[in-house]
Symmetry: C2
Subunit: 291 residues, 2 copies
Amino acid sequence: MEIIDGRKVSIDILNEIRSEVDLRIKNGKKVPHLAAILVGDDGPSQTYVNSKIKACEKVGFKSSLFKFESSISETSLVDEIKKINENKDIDGFIVQLPLPVKINQENILNKVNPNKDVDGFHPLNYGKMSLGLDTFLPATPAGIIELIKRYNVDTNGKKCLVIGRSQIVGRPISILLSQNNKFANATVTVAHSRSKNLNQLCLDSDIIISAIGIPEFLNSEMVKNNVIIIDVGISRIKDENSIKGYRIVGDVDFSSFKDKKGLITPVPGGVGPMTIAMLLKNTLRACKIMD
Amino acid sequence: MEIIDGRKVSIDILNEIRSEVDLRIKNGKKVPHLAAILVGDDGPSQTYVNSKIKACEKVGFKSSLFKFESSISETSLVDEIKKINENKDIDGFIVQLPLPVKINQENILNKVNPNKDVDGFHPLNYGKMSLGLDTFLPATPAGIIELIKRYNVDTNGKKCLVIGRSQIVGRPISILLSQNNKFANATVTVAHSRSKNLNQLCLDSDIIISAIGIPEFLNSEMVKNNVIIIDVGISRIKDENSIKGYRIVGDVDFSSFKDKKGLITPVPGGVGPMTIAMLLKNTLRACKIMD
């Protein structure tokens, strides 16, 4: 299989953003500013937020981290969001998910100013996305579309299987890829935990986007030749040969594909780095709206 | 084929609504009030609006028709919408589509108060629908779901083909049927004008929802036995035996199905009457929110 190099593309995008920021500074315009809200001390959440902040530094954005104890009340968190909504220096912000279970996630995401909603999770932006209107797209599906564009993948009329129906990946990418756009127009099927005969669905597909988080379940015998595979899964599996004791794998049994024809995103280095790049792109967009 | 009798089910629903309205009146509560905005003198639009108003009478709702010349400016139309948004007696209203081409439909639908948006076309409500949150569902897909419920159709894990990706039917029904709900959980594929090999897609499907408006294109040879067909198409075709000179047909070549096993909605008398019933249900809901 040929590799879709998400790491490389994401670096290209960061460089493009960096150039725009440099030009903005030269022209006396505002420097984009991304803020992140982190509640509690979930390990992976901390890691994700840190890499977003690090990426901000790379492109010359300002960034802020608002960290709260997991004991924070929903009302207090809403108050903090309102402050950020009103803070004119902050162009866009994200609420790192998941939130502690006692906090109503839906209520919190509803309180984000839609003009600063760079994650695209506010129902107003999600609705615009579903209607095909111009808005902030959730970062992971936006990253997938960007890979499709930059690798000039022909999706028109192709049978595309999306495995997983999550609000942040499966649902939005299934909608976006079946819309009437140049890098879309696919015949999209959404499979999920209740779907029967997943193997046959995979065999029938020209493009497979897997986002279920089952380590290495998709192997080369389940797909046809010249398939295009986008692997959104990120799982840790035990690996005694690794210093950390584990390694990161996707939904795809990558090694089984080496003699197959087609295109594939690796994990890590595929969709992951694209997600952060698209978040920064959304932040730049939010900043430009305010120009 | 067995018939899914949308006319009968819609009468049941109207009776249920009528009972609720009678009870509201008895309890001194507000009578639901639906308003419709009609711009220009498009024949079919006039017919649709009239049947909505007639249905209001049947269930004891108040109704209002706001009729404007096709020459009305976008600004004036927005002003009229604002007045209706603020009119406390009106619980819900619809803007009959299509609008004259010089008016930006997206802008108009955005101005409807989401709490009175009984068509479910405001991006905020469309987003909630896409996210699986409780909200006004667009009437036609809501009517299809209601038929599935009342005929106790098992959709779980079934292969469902939605033909058409319109914002008012194809897109929302494809989202709703693949969500994690009792009368959903289907493996949904969306086909459209760019899809290849529609015949094979049809043959592979347990449930077919057709909403493309090509008269009688779907015949019994294109589907498997025991298929469930929901026909959303409404087209006029010439018929010299009819007094009107035409008759109404759906996307399905109905007569070809008489010896086939399965379930099917007729046209007329299938999805059509359900659409109006669900609009009234949404209006009752809007009224209750204000209680």
